[in-house]
Each structure stands twice: as structure tokens, then as C-alpha cells.
């Protein structure tokens, strides 16, 4: 019950073996040549140009295509042509499995339909943000996946409040945080009371009572919940072409006066009112 790619969906259900998937991936890698190589094959740049761009990437956090344009080696129109050619020639994992004889075209179609039905649970429904940013779609998706995981993983009934943009985060019993990097830069946090921490622990550990669990384990369950949400967010973002890297989660114990949002950052706070009257907050601290 996670956001997945099609290959993993097939493997998890025993439809294809790891070996067959490995062969399909190798076939894809042979077929799906990278942007730089495509540009060379089209006669637009040379191998030496690629090397210069790769060297420049060591100090510039930019995608190769954007860098080649910035360096004057490609025009925007040429970059667009290259990406179009890549898309038109792209061999998808299902097609690779058909070429290898692991699946037929008919069974591929059936499994694709089943995959779409399975993953439809992770399509975002309307979330309203108070500010519009370049990455609003990612933040909306993050909030939506958080709500879905609260229902599915934590089995908590809740009502989501209106998103706000605080400059100081309210103090709470604990917060679990995870840093997101790559195409966006943000910190994802879940802020919980002691009672909510226990609710989360009961759900994660599958235990009716967690009264005898050490504090370390209780904290770890909230961190693990953050890990599950952010991992699924990264997987979903990847499906839309956005690269999100996640780091291991950390636990925070905010001071009584709360946590100030750092300069140069905007906080989006999503209050989550549980059925038992507790307040959880999902917070994104986004680098502007």
C-alpha cells in the first residue's frame, strides 16, 4: 500500500522475478540513452562539450540540459528537441519486459490497469495553500499524502484545519523532522503531543498498549512515520519528474517559546485535529 513504480509493483506481486526485472532494466539502459549522449548523436554538441559541462556540474547544482544552455552550447529550442526525441524513443519497463518475452502485450495492458487502480489511492485531492510558490504542487501533494498516511497507517480519524504561515512554530511534546533536498529544499516536520506519540506508537508497533515502551522506541515510531510519508512523497514526486532526496529523520524537542522559522524560509503549517481532541501539526519549512 505504497506509492510505487510499475516494475516494483510487478515484482512485489510475483508477476516478474528480480532476474527478469534486472534484464529489463539492462535493456532499458541500452535503449534509453542519456541527454548528453542524445545531443551528441544529434550532432548538436561534442563529447568534449559534455566533459566540460560535467566538470562545471561539480560546482553548479544544475541539470545537464540547463547547464548546456547556460554555457551557450545548446539553445532552448535544441534542448527541447533533445528531450522530445528522448521521450519518443523511451522504452518503458513494461515494454522492455514484453520485448524479453516475460510478458505479452495483453498481460502488460492488464497489469497496467491493475497498477493504475492500485495507485489511484495516491492521487492528490484538493489542498489549498495560503501562498503560491513555484513548488506549490509538491507541497499540496505532501499534505495530501500525509493525510492519507494518517488514515491508512495510523488509523486515526481527523479533520484537517486551514493551512497557515507562522513565523514561530508552536511548542509541543516532540517533533520528528526530515530534510528534503534535490529539486526543492525544505524540512518536513510532524509535531505531536505525548498522547499522540503513543497513538502513533500503538499503530506503528501494532500493540494495544505502549505504556512499557522506552522513550527511545516511542520517539522512533514518530520518526518512522515521517520517514514513510517523505519516502512516498519522494516516490510520487519522481513520477512527475521532480527529484527529491530524503535524509534519515531526526527527533526535536522544541523549547517552551516555540521554534522560530529561520530567515529566508516560509513555514506552511497544516493543523490536524484528531477525533480524540488532540492536535497534530504537519509543517513544511521551505527555503525561499
Amino acid at each position: 500500500m505504497a506509492v510505487q513504480f510499475f516494475g516494483q509493483f510487478l515484482m512485489e506481486r510475483g508477476i516478474v522475478t528480480g532476474t527478469a526485472l534486472r534484464d529489463a532494466i539492462q535493456l532499458q539502459e541500452k535503449n534509453n540513452i542519456k541527454l548528453g549522449e542524445t545531443a551528441v548523436a544529434m550532432g548538436l554538441i561534442t563529447l568534449a562539450d559534455i566533459q566540460r559541462a560535467h566538470n562545471a556540474q561539480l560546482s553548479k547544482d544544475m541539470k545537464l540540459g540547463d547547464l548546456l544552455v547556460e554555457m551557450g552550447l545548446l539553445t532552448l529550442i535544441q534542448l527541447d528537441d533533445i528531450i522530445t526525441r528522448q521521450k519518443n524513443n523511451h522504452l518503458h519497463i513494461g515494454e522492455a519486459l514484453v520485448q524479453l518475452g516475460v510478458l505479452t502485450a495483453d498481460t502488460l495492458r492488464q497489469h497496467l490497469d491493475a497498477f493504475k487502480t492500485d495507485q489511484a489511492r495516491y492521487i492528490s485531492s484538493g489542498i489549498e495553500l495560503p501562498v503560491i510558490s513555484a513548488n506549490s504542487a509538491i507541497w499540496e501533494m505532501t499534505a495530501d499524502l500525509t493525510f492519507k498516511m494518517i488514515t491508512r497507517v495510523l488509523n486515526l480519524q481527523f479533520h484537517a484545519g486551514t493551512c497557515t504561515t507562522p513565523t514561530v512554530l508552536s511548542p509541543n511534546f516532540m517533533m520528528a523532522a526530515m530534510d528534503l533536498s534535490g529539486d526543492v529544499s525544505a524540512r518536513y516536520l510532524i509535531s505531536v503531543s505525548q498522547e499522540l506519540q503513543k497513538s502513533i506508537a500503538r499503530a506503528i508497533l501494532g500493540e494495544a498498549s505502549v505504556d512499557d515502551e522506552p522513550a527511545e522506541v516511542l520517539e522512533d515510531t514518530v520518526m518512522e512515520f515521517v520517514n514513510v510519508v517523505c519516502g512516498n512523497v519522494a516516490a510520487k514526486a519522481s513520477q512527475t519528474g521532480v527529484i527529491l532526496n530524503i535524509n534519515p529523520p531526526v527527533a526535536l524537542h522544541p523549547p517552551a517559546h516555540g521554534l522560530a522559522v529561520p530567515d529566508g524560509h516560509t513555514a506552511l503549517c497544516f493543523p490536524i485535529h484528531t477525533g480524540s481532541g488532540e492536535l497534530m501539526e504537519m509543517i513544511l519549512i521551505i527555503k525561499e
Binding site: 505504497a2 512485489e12 534486472r22 532494466i25 522512533d220 516516490a235
Partner: protein, 119 residues
């Protein structure tokens, strides 16, 4: 019973997996390592048939450990555990290194056991 080593820096993930494994009746958990380096040591000591390995750990991560194990021990079957689904390079790399399958978080006990039984 088939011996399983759990490798994850999260105590709660290890507990979840251990519960699923021990309640299955056909698997037993022989230990819990918190990173890749510990996993390699414990693999040598406990000689498990299956390792459930987290991808994302501080210190030596799951892919690095898998790379080492694929050379040192060709018998042990490694299943990666991740919240990242099948996303991008890490999934592809794990499959190319010989991981037998990938278990997604959040866990579904039935799926976990089916994957382990099919190994």
C-alpha cells in the same frame, strides 16, 4: 525455520518486521543490525538465509552493504526495505546488485510474507 536478519536503523521498523516474521511460523529472526557494517558482521556470525535490508541508513547504507555482500556471500538472499517505493536509481541499483525484491513502507504483513516465501 528460515533464518532472517533484519537490518534497519529504526527500532520500530525492526520491531514491526520481527513481529511479522515471528508470527509467521516459518521464519525466525536471528538478529537486528543498525547499519550496513553491522549487517556484514552479523551475516558472518548468524549465517541467515535472508536479509531484510533498509536502503537508507546512517553510516554504511543498504546499497553499499548489498554491494559488499554480493561479493562476499553469494548464498544469502537480500530483500531491500524502503519507503521510497521503486524510485529511480536506488531501486535500479539494488536490482542490478542482486536484491531479490523490495519491500515498501508502510508494510503490509501479507505482502512481506509472500515476498519472503517466494525467495
Amino acid at each position: 525455520m528460515v533464518k532472517v536478519l533484519i537490518v534497519d536503523d529504526s527500532l520500530s521498523v525492526a520491531r514491526q518486521l520481527e513481529k511479522i516474521i515471528s508470527e509467521s511460523g516459518d521464519f525466525s529472526c536471528v538478529g537486528h543490525a543498525k547499519n550496513g557494517a553491522e549487517a556484514i558482521k552479523m551475516n558472518h556470525i548468524e549465517d541467515p538465509e535472508i536479509i531484510c535490508m533498509d536502503m537508507n541508513m546512517p553510516g554504511m547504507d543498504g546499497l553499499t552493504a548489498l554491494r559488499t555482500l554480493s561479493v562476499m556471500d553469494k548464498e544469502v538472499k537480500v530483500v531491500m526495505v524502503t519507503s521510497l517505493g521503486g524510485v529511480g536509481e536506488k531501486f535500479t541499483e539494488a536490482i542490478k546488485l542482486g536484491a531479490k525484491n523490495v519491500i515498501s513502507k508502510p508494510f503490509d504483513a501479507e505482502t512481506v510474507l509472500r515476498i519472503l516465501r517466494e525467495l
